[in-house]
């Protein structure tokens, strides 16, 4: 009996060892990591081979984006990148294919962010996410998006082609978390027809604005003249809401700041904020700016007032240029319609946001959209745990591909956003390329072509391309709202204060104190915000 037991034990031990030897070849793990070299084709081929060796022939990704209807390339750029990568693999005999399972595109970028925030922890958010850089700090801080700093080192050549300020906007705590997708400037639009009625000479005005000779006191003067002489119903129309940082430009235009890089805290620059609120208050009190503008309806009030020439000035974004052509805001002749490119060119002059007062500088403000990668990107694919590194690097390479200059340039032209790469900016100036785009005679997938065909027809023309070229210089004057997790809360308070001074519920001084009180009332906000400076005594607006 004892001998039998010994035999049994020996047999088991032998079996274990034998199975280890037999399975030795099988157990030898296939390659699950790749090193990026900076040669896109080589890296893609390497990744393709690894996937193939591991039995993966189809990689599924989803792309989430948001914005106006003209900005759909924010998701179709990913679709096109997938097609181009598939072609590279096919050309190199690799039997792997990327399939974009979902192109989730919604109008409100804030709603898209909220959806991503709630679904990412559940593993249900898109693999690619394009949204405002303002949300990047929170997403990065929570670990919801991929740190691509090390991947990007291999592609420094591509990264260097992006405008440096936009790459900075894609960082958090010094680490890179995305690649810029688009950006914009926020010009001051001026109605040429209204200006002509009041003798407001626009030729050379942009130079005066650049030199700081034309300030907000001059804006006030001409706005008042337009109103007093009955040339326009309003002197100025601007946007509303806290998420739209157009009005924040006033802080920079008055030489203020919103962020202290030394302390990493947000700043309430009291003198600049006071001057901003005073300008708003003065314009509204004199009937030059609607006192209830913060509750105006976009489609029925704000845009129609601008396109129908019921205001002299308007603070808007570059994307207004094509939005006015594709949305039916103009109803002066009866049936609402979009403007013709020629009309937009004829009616609107554009310049930088003027300096607050003499001695200050003109500004503009950008809110770049950034392509980010979900930190769980590719999780629904086979062998995710083993091949995580490969899926993440593939996702990064897709972003590199989606940033191809032509994809970026197409997006810029059809949505009137500014290109984020220097190569894309060159393409926009190429007439042949523009005519090819107009005819959709470009290397694009049928899916992408079909989805942008109508937008291309409505927006691709020399006038719009010229506009983009004309406003590109504004990026040299651009400021960015701080990428700080607490900034949205502070921006909300600013919005409330502006609303109160416009309506006359508070004087500018009371509104500044209101902002300070609100900041101090929330201990967490108070810890992250510095109150700097004091309300200037005897400050006058307008100045001579």
């Amino acid at each position: 009996m004892r001998a039998a037991a010994l035999w049994l034990v020996a047999l088991v031990i032998f079996g274990v060892i034998a199975s280890g030897c037999i399975g030795g070849e099988e157990a030898k793990t296939s390659q699950t990591e790749v090193q990026l070299t900076g040669d896109l084709t080589k890296d893609l081929v390497e990744i393709g081979k690894v996937l193939e060796q591991n039995g993966v022939n189809e990689v599924k990704f989803s792309a989430w984006g948001s914005g106006d209807p003209n900005s759909v390339m924010r998701v179709y750029g990913i679709v096109e990148a997938a097609r181009r990568i598939n072609k590279i693999w096919a050309d190199n005999g690799i039997n792997v294919k990327i399939v974009i399972t979902e192109t989730h595109y919604v109008a409100s970028f804030q709603d898209a962010y909220k959806e991503y925030l709630s679904k990412q922890p559940l593993g249900q958010a898109g693999d690619f996410f394009v949204n405002s850089y303002a949300f990047l700090p929170t997403l990065a801080d929570e670990g919801y998006i991929l740190d691509i700093t090390d991947y990007a080192k291999a592609y420094q050549g591509v990264v260097d082609d992006f405008y440096p300020s936009l790459i900075e906007a894609s960082k958090f705590n010094g680490r890179l978390y995305g690649l810029p997708q688009d950006t914009e400037a926020r010009p001051l639009y001026i109605r040429r027809d209204v200006a002509q009625k009041i003798g407001f000479e626009l030729n050379g005005l942009d130079e005066k604005v650049k030199n700081g000779e034309f300030t907000w006191s001059d804006v006030y003067y001409w706005a008042k003249k337009a109103k007093d002489e009955g040339a326009a119903e309003w002197g100025l129309i601007h946007r509303k809401g806290s998420a739209h940082p157009d009005l924040i430009q006033f802080i920079f235009a008055f030489g203020g700041r919103l962020y202290d890089p030394n302390t990493g805290k947000l700043v309430v620059d009291v003198p600049a904020v006071y001057k901003w609120l005073y300008v708003e208050w003065k314009f509204a009190r004199d009937g030059l700016l609607p006192e209830d503008i913060m509750s105006w309806d976009w489609a029925k009030q704000i845009h129609p007032a601008i396109v129908e020439g019921r205001t002299l000035f308007d603070i808007g974004g570059t994307w207004y240029w094509t939005e006015w052509q594709t949305k039916q805001y103009y109803a002066k002749d009866g049936t609402p319609r979009g403007l013709k490119p020629e009309e937009v060119k004829e009616w609107f002059y554009y310049t930088l946001f003027p300096a607050g007062e003499k001695g200050d500088k003109p500004v503009t403000l950008s809110q770049p959209f950034v392509w980010m990668i979900n930190s769980k990107a590719g999780q629904l694919n086979p062998k995710y745990d083993e091949l995580k590194d490969v899926y993440h690097k593939l996702a990064f390479l897709m972003l590199i591909k989606a940033s191809d200059p032509d994809i970026n340039a197409i997006h810029s032209v059809i949505s009137a956003h500014l290109p984020v790469r220097k190569e894309a900016a060159k393409l926009i100036k190429d007439e042949k390329w523009l005519s090819d785009l107009k005819a959709l005679n470009l290397d694009l997938s049928d899916d992408v072509k079909n989805n942008i065909r109508d937008i291309v027809q409505a927006t691709v023309n020399p006038i719009n391309a010229q506009f983009l070229a004309d406003v590109s210089y504004m990026l040299e004057y651009t400021h960015l709202a701080p990428a700080h997790p607490k900034y949205p809360a502070l921006a909300d308070i600013f919005k409330e204060a502006v609303d109160k001074v416009l309506r006359g519920e508070m004087t500018p001084e009371e509104a500044v104190n209101y902002i300070i009180q609100k900041v101090k009332a929330d201990p967490e906000l108070a810890q992250n915000v510095e109150i700097q400076g004091e309300i200037p005594k005897d400050w006058k607006f307008p100045q001579g």
Binding site: P121, Y144, M294, S295, P488, Q517
Partner: protein
Amino acid sequence: MARGKLRDLSFFLSPMVLMVFLFYLVPLIMTVYISMTRMRNWNVDRYLTEFVGFYNYERLFYMFQHDPTFKAVILTTLVFVGITLMINVFGGLALALATFFINERPASSYRLLWLLPRMSPIAVYSLVWYYFFHGSEIGTLNSILMSLGAISEPIPWGQVTPWGAWSVIIFVNGLVGVSFGMIVFTSALNQIPRELVIAARVDGASSWQISRRILIPMIKWHLLYVLTWQFLSLLTTYPHLFLLVQWDLVNRDYGTTLALYVFNTAFGRGEQDQGLAAAAAVILSIIGILGGFVTLKVLKFERMMKRPRGDF
């Protein structure tokens, strides 16, 4: 208690006990727990174990002391719940009584009309009132009043603080809520033997006298039920308010109740602070529990629950 009786009770009560446990007690316990963590941005893995004690309650209390908006929120909650509750209960009662005394066919159509707001999707319904109360000439109400010559300038109804904003949110919510009371009261009134009403009529009683002396006393328990239900419902309702504030129709400070504050803090801002929202939600729950308890005690709810006489 006899074993058989306990078994029967368990059998019949267990679904309800399970429901209460799963959908009330568990969420309540979770909310209390989350209110004591730094939970934010849905990051359960990171924050669920980061216990901060009463930090969120202290923060809330500090904000209550120093933030003018927060005081407006509390005041708005009191006014909104108080007045809308009266409209929902007594408006529902008035509608039920009014339709009680007319022919069934027109009465049904009339009741259906009042049910329309409840049947409409919230976004559509809110959009209707957004354009109706809009503070410019595109607002239906303003354009009507201006064309009648009653006003020369549009009135920003929802931005007149506090009563303009309160009136809009109370009106919009009251119109939805009033149908609930109407249905319950109509059903209750239909259970009253017609002979009583006919006899009173024969004796020369007016509709008002019949309502006051016969109908209302006979449906007092229904009144109590609607009152308590609507109180708890109004305390926690926010979807219509959310849209009206979001669309800038009503003033943000005086259009936000505590329930909407909880929602916005948890889900609505750039930084979503579920810990702070949970603390506010716990306070809201305490107010609800206390309010419900007081309502039931003051109106002697237990008298409705006494054992029926005779067949036990």
